[in-house]
Symmetry: C2
Subunit: 238 residues, 2 copies
């Protein structure tokens, strides 16, 4: 694999799961040494992160990791609702019934284990599969591209969501409903189930605003003070 690709994926993952918290400076020398490559591919990786909105140039401090918190959740979900709504509509028009029927079954099968406290990792992978299938079925590469660009930020929000088995199980049921609607090739139903799911997801996210779980990096100050380097890997994992 190309070095720039490795750097990109590594930094991207570190940002998403918080090892590189909002405000952390992405020094070229520091990061290139850490990842064991030269500045050239690293700069390319940083450029991609900036284009994605995961990092941004900050005058005087170089490129820093962008802030994301529950405060942005409303804005992100506002955008997400129209994009996923449109995608669901269009996907329902072209959907492969068998494909989405299968996904619906798998979501239903996942519900009970989640309610019992199962590891949601596998479930997240399943939702990614559904997302990818919708991206494909909506037959609109531009829409799919924008959705992919948005989902990165949504994934970052996961860190702020308490892992509530009841909510995860409900979420799986909602996903099953979406998949069923797509399998039935019913655009209106697909859009409605999607909107419903997003409303619930946002409500759940915001309901935990105060009781957020495992210390998501300094909720008090947006910009962190100094120039302390950020080598340490948090033990906090999604």
């Amino acid at each position: 694999m190309r070095a720039s690709e490795r750097a990109y994926r590594s930094l991207r993952q570190d940002i998403i799961d918080g090892h590189l918290p909002p405000g952390a400076v992405l020094g070229e020398v520091e990061q290139s040494e850490r990842l064991g490559l030269s500045r050239t591919p690293l700069r390319e990786a940083i450029g991609r992160l900036v284009a994605e909105g995961l990092a941004e140039p900050s005058t005087g401090r170089g490129v820093v990791v962008t802030k994301v918190s529950l405060a942005e959740a409303g804005l992100l979900f506002d955008l997400r609702t129209v994009l996923e709504g449109l995608a669901a509509r269009r996907a329902a028009e072209h959907a492969d019934a068998a494909l989405f029927g299968d996904l619906a079954d798998r979501f239903e099968a996942a519900t009970e284990p989640l309610r019992g406290g199962a590891d949601p990792t596998e479930y997240y992978a399943l939702t990614e599969e559904l997302d990818a299938a919708v991206d494909d079925a909506c037959a609109n590469p531009y829409l799919a591209q924008h959705l992919r660009g948005l989902r990165v930020h949504l994934t970052r929000l996961r860190r702020f969501s308490r892992k509530d088995p009841a909510r995860l199980a409900a979420s799986a049921t909602e996903h099953a409903a979406i998949a069923h609607a797509l399998a039935a090739r019913n655009p209106e139903l697909a859009a409605a189930t999607t909107t419903m799911h997003l409303q619930h997801a946002l409500a759940h996210l915001q309901s935990h605003q105060e009781t957020a779980g495992t210390a998501p990096t300094d909720p008090r100050s947006g910009t962190r003070p100094g120039h302390e380097t950020q080598h340490d890997h948090d033990t906090v994992t999604t």
Copy 2:
């Protein structure tokens, strides 16, 4: 200005106005020599173009300019409708009445000159001003970012639209209506006038599918055959 920024703007403009037509290969050596800089900043520029969707890696041929044509217009407007609709709604909720009132006046003032065949360049600048004001007023940086990313592609479509004074005048009137709705801080009206405008714009664009004006680069073959370099500047200008 940074060399990479110059390269980016130059290439971007060349792609938008067709000097670099779809399928044209963006060779690093060739372009860096043409623009008088080294490959390093040029690579950065190309990276940004790829992220924007104006270019894409093509196996074996390097990076090439992406295709855009009336065939994609429907997909682009599908996406545009939901994004601009949401932006109009949200902008109407926060709008500065004086700002949008002024824009509305200026659109109205532009209508008659356009009907008389005036140069639309100034009018395009005015629409960009409205777009920027909406981006700002919608108070959602994520939405604004996605809109900006989409507009690049829409601008490319201009080359396919015949410059019809009647349509331009009507378009100006529609923009005035949008601005008025925003000044009135009426979300529903703002969304409706926006949707109306987009429907008309798309209809006009597609009505000229066969009689498109000034030869927009090879409508017959998506991928162009050879390795002919693309130094010559078209005299065709938007």
